[in-house]
Each structure stands twice: as structure tokens, then as C-alpha cells.
């Protein structure tokens, strides 16, 4: 009997979301659709130039955790915030969603991480992340019972940016595997893949990671090819199970010789792509840990991703279990 369906580990970040046009991105040297890492000085500069914003708890794996909980899954989360107002907000939101979150907050500086997200008229989001307190996440933050007690331990590739989070991941993965559990990661961002390509491949090839989530840009970056099919075939060999999202083309799931093509859900209006991949992983992992077929897992992922991109902010306001029931998926 497992205590949790999924343990999610990630950078605990509060999103600061505003609208901007493409010219703003160009003028400010922001790579569109990417996660741009920034330091405190650049954070202050960009905030001065940013329009009126709204705030919402985010962080890739945090969004996934919230999504799984909204489906009714049992979820725990590890992530580092500081003891400050944004940290209070982060604790509140993820716990209010039903996620077990007990990582000790950092006393003093740096403050809780924030990501300034500029949403362009096409709905694409461009993130500018100041990691703040996230740089202090380390193996001492791994709660062994949670790592042993979750069916799947899931983490974000973004955790290779702060200095010691990767040590936390290696420890959590070891504890999970010793307990007979599975380990999963998302490749997070094509530029992040570019920074840590060899390490990510090693995580997969060494068996540290069993299940990989990615989008088409990320796997092409991972295998340094422009050919999606070629990247997919390489990925198929490098991990036991992979789910690759393709924006409006839906997603494809590969496991050994098996290939499952998943249709996207239809949407009324694309508002803000923030959280799309995170919520796809949420739906998929909820389905996977509740024993559903890969096709069903993919459909749950598409449903959740389709909902989050029709609103501003990274976590759907709807109850995902109710939405899945309405759609006939649960």
C-alpha cells in the first residue's frame, strides 16, 4: 500500500503574470516561449518595465502536484520557499489543493522565487525566473518516507539549475527505487535540455529515471536533431516510458514497441499556455497511478492541459475530477 500516488519535486515559484507584445520581448532580450533564468538585478529591472500583473502560485512540478490533487490523486511535494509573504502564498495554495507540502522554509534571504511571465497576444508565455530560495533545496529536504511511499516520484529538469537540488533528486530516486517505485522527470524546457543534455541522458540511460515527459522541442534538443521521429525513436530506447506533447497536434506515448497517439482536446480560445505541459503530466500521472491504459492517461493529460491554456495562470480553477467525469474520462 502506497501512501501517495505521486511525489512531485520542483522549484517552488510564485508567478507574476502580465500581458506584453512581441516587441517587448525583443527589446528586453527575452527568449520567447522559454524559461529565461535571471538574477536579482535583472528581476528588478524587468519588474520596473512590466505592466500591471497578477500573482499565482506556480512552479512546474508544483503545478503538476496541484493538478493531480485536483483529479483526486494523493500527492506530496518538496520545494523550497522562504519565510516571507510569497512563501506563505505558496504554502497556502498547494496545501489548500490537498497536496502534502512540508519542506522547511528558508529563514532569511534569498526570498521566495518568482517568475515574471509575459503572455503575448498569441497566448504564448515567456518566463523570467529568479530562483531565490530555490537555490537552497538539498538532500536534507528529502523526506524519506514520502520518497519510499509514492508510486511515482516526479521531478522537473529545471532542478538542475540550482546547485544542490540534483543531489536531492538522486537521493529521492534511490529511496524510491529501493522501495520498488518508479521515477519520472520532465525535460522542462529546450534551453534547459541544452544546458544539461548529457546529465539528462545519463539519468535516463542509467535507469535513474523510468518515465520521461517532454515536448517536441525538448526531445529534438536532447538528441540534437530537427527530425521529430528520429528524436522519438531515440527516446523510446533511452527510457521505459515517455509521453511527448506536440501542442495543437496532441501527444504521443511510447513504451518499448508500443506507440499511442493522443488527440488534443478542442478549446474555445487559447489565452495563456502557462502550465500546459505541467497539467498534461498531472493528468497522465493521475491516470497512470490509478492503473489506466496509456491512451486513457494521455486523454486525461490532454483534458487538463486544454483547460489550463484557456485561462490566465498555471493551475486550472476547475475541479479536474469533475471535468474528467463530464468528459466521460473517469
Amino acid at each position: 500500500m502506497s501512501e501517495y500516488d505521486v511525489l512531485c519535486i520542483g522549484n517552488a515559484i510564485v508567478d507574476i503574470i502580465a500581458q506584453a507584445d512581441d516587441a517587448f520581448l525583443t527589446e528586453n532580450g527575452i527568449i520567447k516561449a522559454a524559461m529565461n533564468l535571471i538574477d536579482a538585478d535583472r528581476a528588478n529591472l524587468l519588474y520596473e518595465r512590466m505592466g500591471p500583473a497578477v500573482e499565482a502560485s506556480g512552479g512546474s512540478a508544483g503545478n503538476t502536484a496541484a493538478g493531480i490533487a485536483s483529479f483526486g490523486g494523493r500527492v506530496a511535494y518538496f520545494g523550497k520557499v522562504a519565510e516571507d509573504q510569497l512563501g506563505d502564498i505558496y504554502y497556502h495554495d498547494i496545501r489548500a489543493q490537498g497536496v502534502a507540502f512540508d519542506t522547511k522554509p528558508l529563514k532569511g534571504l534569498p526570498p521566495t522565487a518568482r517568475s515574471m511571465i509575459f503572455v503575448t497576444p498569441d497566448g504564448e508565455r515567456s518566463m523570467n525566473t529568479y530562483l531565490g530560495a530555490c537555490v537552497e533545496l538539498g538532500p536534507e529536504d528529502v523526506e524519506p518516507e514520502k520518497a519510499r511511499g509514492a508510486k511515482v516520484t516526479y521531478f522537473e529538469g529545471y532542478l538542475w539549475d540550482p546547485p544542490r537540488a540534483k543531489d536531492a533528486i538522486r537521493l529521492a530516486a534511490k529511496l524510491a527505487h529501493e522501495a520498488g517505485r518508479e521515477v519520472s522527470m520532465t525535460l522542462s524546457d529546450s534551453f534547459c535540455v541544452g544546458r544539461y543534455r548529457e546529465e539528462f541522458l545519463d539519468l535516463m540511460r542509467s535507469g535513474t529515471v523510468d518515465i520521461v515527459f517532454a515536448n517536441s522541442h525538448e526531445i529534438k534538443s536532447l538528441y540534437e536533431t530537427d527530425n521529430f521521429e528520429e528524436a522519438l525513436e531515440a527516446l523510446r530506447k533511452d527510457c521505459r516510458l515517455a509521453a511527448v506533447t506536440r501542442s495543437e497536434k496532441g501527444s504521443v506515448v511510447v513504451r518499448g514497441d508500443e506507440t499511442v497517439t493522443v488527440k488534443p482536446t478542442t478549446i474555445d480560445q487559447l489565452v495563456d499556455t502557462t502550465g500546459a505541459g505541467d497539467l498534461y503530466a498531472a493528468g497522465f500521472l493521475y491516470g497512470y497511478t490509478s492503473g489506466r491504459s496509456l491512451a486513457e492517461c494521455g486523454d486525461l493529460g490532454s483534458l487538463a492541459a486544454g483547460l489550463v491554456i484557456q485561462q490566465i495562470g498555471p493551475r486550472p480553477r476547475q475541479n479536474l475530477r469533475e471535468e474528467a467525469e463530464k468528459a466521460g474520462l473517469l
Copy 2:
């Protein structure tokens, strides 16, 4: 030549917005559709019970200031936040909208004010406001040049809740009138009117306030009657100009013997009524200070109110000038 069209003065509050059902309001003793004043202990209790939320700068007169600026008006704002993360957010958002906001922040405690807003499925909002740093707003925060230099000084009745803000208002009103300007207030909330009925009537009858904004509940509370027409006739005698909103019935503007009936704008979907009255005042005051007819002022108010209630949060994301141009109002 005036330096500003409008000076807005109010409680500077960050909104924390979540969905809830009517049973939640009942169970927690929250008066629906009202502004419930709470202390720090109750704020903690309610936050523990609140679902996942999003944050946005709010405050009644702050929302009005942001709205006027979005129409292209020149606006200044007085309000007290603390030197903390929520205070930084407040400064950012209102300045990013183009509002001149220079009130010195409070060093140390209490922290920046927040209002926990529960939005029920009918779109109605019920606010629970912890005033925090707002209790420190006083006459020393009145920047005389701004009070003298604005065509209209506008303040919220809510300012009678903190202890010394009313002294700031009396000083600002005196400076404004000495400079030949006008002074305006919103009655804010029917329970707020209940708390300060005699003082609000005195502000109007003594000529401290020239222009009154209210909704039908507030004027009925002010004159302790269930009869809207009776309240409206009393209001007509007590101030030079009044604009009274009536939800889906639109609004009515009275000035001496003149009565202007304003239609509501049609909306697709009511999402969250937060900010409706504030944005009506924004549109009206933008029109008024740019020399438009009362009917045009009312239409601009209806437009802005109609937009803000179709989104979550108290300040419209759209550029109001562009929206008014599209609607043929500017």
C-alpha cells in the same frame, strides 16, 4: 491648468481571490456581497479555510485610479502599504498603470492590507478585509500639490474604518476646494454606510463632498428606506451630483432637477463582480474630467464596469481607452 484629472485616496489592499460556494459563506459567518472587516487572527483562520487563490492589487479607490489611467486620464493616488512583498506588488501594479503613487510605505508592522475575496458561483464577491498598514494613513500623507492640482479628489467611504484617514480626507478636501476643485466620494458598502451614516450625510450636507457615487443598497441604507426612488430624491437634495448604480438595471445620474438614466452594457458571462462599482466610477470620472455630458460619463462607467465583471480580479486587463473607442464612446 490642472496637473491631474483625478486624485484617488483609499485603502491600499492586495486582493486574494478564491472560489467558494454559498455554504462556505454561511459556515464562516461571512456576509455575502459585503465588505467584512476582520482582524489578524480571523484573517489567519479564514486563509486556512480558503481554497487555492490568486492575488491581484485591489482597493476600491486604487481600482478606480487604475481604471482612469487605463482610459488615458492623469491620476494620482494616496494609500498606505508596508515595506513588504505585497506592498511592492501594490506599488508596482498601480505605477505600471501610469498612476502617480508616492505615499511613503510603512516601515515594519502591520503588513500590507489584504482582502480575502470569495467569489460564489453566481459571480458575487464577498470580501474579508484585514486593514494592516492602512490604519497608518493620516494627514501627513496628503501631498498638498496633488490635492490642489487635481480636478477631482475622489475617496472611498471605507476610509472611515481606519482611525486617521478621515483627517487626511478633510485636509485634502480643504486644499482641493481652496484651489477651486471638486471633491467626490463613494459610499463604498451598505454596511459601511450603516457604520458612518451621520458622518457621510454631514460630508455631503456641509459641502465637503460635491459628487457622490453609490449603489442602490447604499443609498437605501443611507436614508434608512426600502424605497429606491425616495432615497434617490433625498440624495439629489444632499449633493450637487450623484451617480447611482443598479447592477443589471444600469445606473441613474442626478444633478439638481436633471435625471439621466444609463443603460447597462450587455455582457457574455458574469464571472466576478469585484471592482464593478470602482470601474463605473473610473469611467464616469474620466468622462467628467474630460468635459463630457452626464450621459456619456455614465456610458463610460457602464463600459468599464461591464468589462471588469467578466474576468476574475478587480482591474480590467483590457486597455479601457481602446475598448471605449471600439464601442464608439471616445
